[in-house]
Subunit: 172 residues, 2 copies
């Protein structure tokens, strides 16, 4: 079964994980949750819906995954202080493999230094950070720029999931 890596940490935005995760599983993909500590249970912003971390970034390789999903909330802020996760994401992204991210997710791409010249959208509070990272910010429900699919908030999830499933189908 083809695998999608999910970069996830504590205080993730509930629906930005659960809705794409369900859609990807329904489409036949297996999810591998990558985080700071194997076996750790990370809860959402309400302290609920714990997700178990399957692997740390050291134990995975870009070839293992057909795509990466990065949900928002405060999870990206927690993950961007982990250099191994940032390095893994940079390696994955620079191979032009699909990365789907929403809300605060692009914070991780800023730290990975891969946004120069790229076009994307994100949550309002992160706009200045992606602009300062050299990206072209646009205010749209979903933006597809080569391997990168981005959205702004949970309201955009239907368009985000549709675009992500389409890219998965085209590339696999």
């Amino acid at each position: 079964m083809k695998k999608i890596g999910v970069l996830i940490g504590k205080l993730y935005e509930t629906s930005e994980y659960s809705e794409p995760a369900e859609a990807f599983k329904d489409a036949g993909y297996e999810l591998v949750h990558i985080g700071k500590e194997k076996g750790e249970k990370v809860s959402d912003k309400n302290g609920e819906n714990p997700v178990t971390i399957d692997e740390v970034a050291d134990n995975v390789s870009p070839e293992d995954f057909v795509a990466l999903l990065i949900p928002g909330g405060y999870s990206p802020d927690a993950l961007r202080s982990d250099e191994k996760i940032v390095d893994f994401l940079r390696n994955y992204f620079t191979l032009d493999k699909p990365v789907f991210t929403i809300c605060h997710g692009p914070q991780l791409l800023v730290t990975a230094e891969v946004l120069s010249g790229r076009t994307l959208t994100c949550y309002k509070s992160v706009i200045m950070d992606v602009k300062n990272a050299g990206a072209n910010y646009v205010d749209r429900e979903v933006v597809v720029d080569r391997n990168l699919i981005t959205s702004r908030t949970p309201k955009d999830l239907p368009a985000f999931i549709d675009a992500s499933l389409k890219m998965l189908k085209e590339r696999n």
Copy 2:
């Protein structure tokens, strides 16, 4: 009584508010809590220690305060999506008046676009954002750059508070 403005929102880092707040009150300053909604009660990262918002940014002026305190946690992320708070901070900062901030606090200064050429420290996850904003990041417990005092984490609070009290004394 001379006033210090505190820019504060939900999910603030407990000690990064409570310890400087206590020190400033002990030194004879009155605190005015500025946030998104007057009368709102904002809790810390543990959902505890509610702080009541005294004023919104529209109703205050830089002349009202001898300094601003910006605690960390996820509070700065919540505040940086409020354009009136960002505008107030930009106006205050560009008058060269004292701004004391720690941890994630510099995120607000990034959005206010006042960090170009300035030297500061901050929490690890925010380093790339302050560098991309044109600031010179240094890894020290406290950094004093003209009107700006910054620290990294709650561990740095004693040095942060000492430097802040010293600047208040020199300037008042």
